[in-house]
Symmetry: C2
Subunit: 155 residues, 2 copies
């Protein structure tokens, strides 16, 4: 097989997520969708990407349950692409990417926008990793454990 290697069967959850949204465009399409974009042409003009690729990506995102097609909305008999809960669940990923750029980009002055708390207009805090009891965790405070075997009902 010379195809791009698929991570579908991989047991690593990071690889599995990249299978769905690890290409050049998917996360940007989701970003636009989170801003309320729903129509093919709107995605295409805002992202400036080729229409065939947009078409492929939208289909892939629908197949992965990240977007769903809705029959219409404003009367016109066309199709719309709306985020599913799974799609909206990518929000922390986008925030993490944004914060990484804000923290480490070599030219942060080129970043045009900041994510703020709507109520106060102040930047949101950096994402933090915490234990169940609320302790702040650094990467070194964490480790990987094998997943417990699936619990079979009765025996």
């Amino acid at each position: 097989m010379v195809k791009r290697t698929s991570f579908e069967g991989d047991s690593c959850p990071i690889a599995r997520s990249l299978e769905a949204l690890g290409d050049w465009w998917s996360l940007l399409i989701i970003r636009e969708a989170l801003f309320g974009v729903r129509r093919f042409g709107e995605f295409q003009s805002k992202l400036g990407m080729a229409k065939n690729i947009l078409s492929t990506r939208l289909r892939s995102l629908v197949d992965h349950g990240i977007l769903a097609t809705a029959p219409a909305s404003d009367g016109s008999a066309y199709q719309e692409y709306v985020l599913t809960p799974k799609g909206r669940g990518t929000f922390p990923i986008l925030v993490a990417l944004r914060q990484w750029s804000e923290a480490f980009d070599d030219h942060p002055e080129e970043i045009a926008t900041i994510l703020v708390d709507r109520e106060k207009g102040r930047p949101v805090k950096k994402l933090e990793m915490r234990a169940e009891d609320g302790r702040l965790l650094s990467p070194a405070d964490t480790t990987l454990k094998p997943r417990p075997a699936p619990r079979r009902r009765s025996a």
Copy 2:
């Protein structure tokens, strides 16, 4: 230009981060590096990827300041690839990807590992977005603001 479109000049921080780590392998290489992998052959055998592509990706990650080459470490006169602070800063991104899989994957039973608090052995909490004052924020509670103009010193 028929090349893969570059997001380098884009003003969106998400696009900018994808420029550095938005391809199929970079985040997985970083994942291994966070586990302590440093040598070419070790990356290659653990990830099962072609060596030329690994070579290209490592160079790209070094160029982006995510990895750095260290002259040696165990005496053998070869090179090592170690994460920079910028590279270690991707940790929240990987956690976000992992948690998204854990929450939304269609076959979660295939996920082999869980990320736990090393001290207690309990799963880490989901990443939360909070305001400066600690209020928990949903996506709808946030908005984007234009970045304030760069502050020039004196005038």
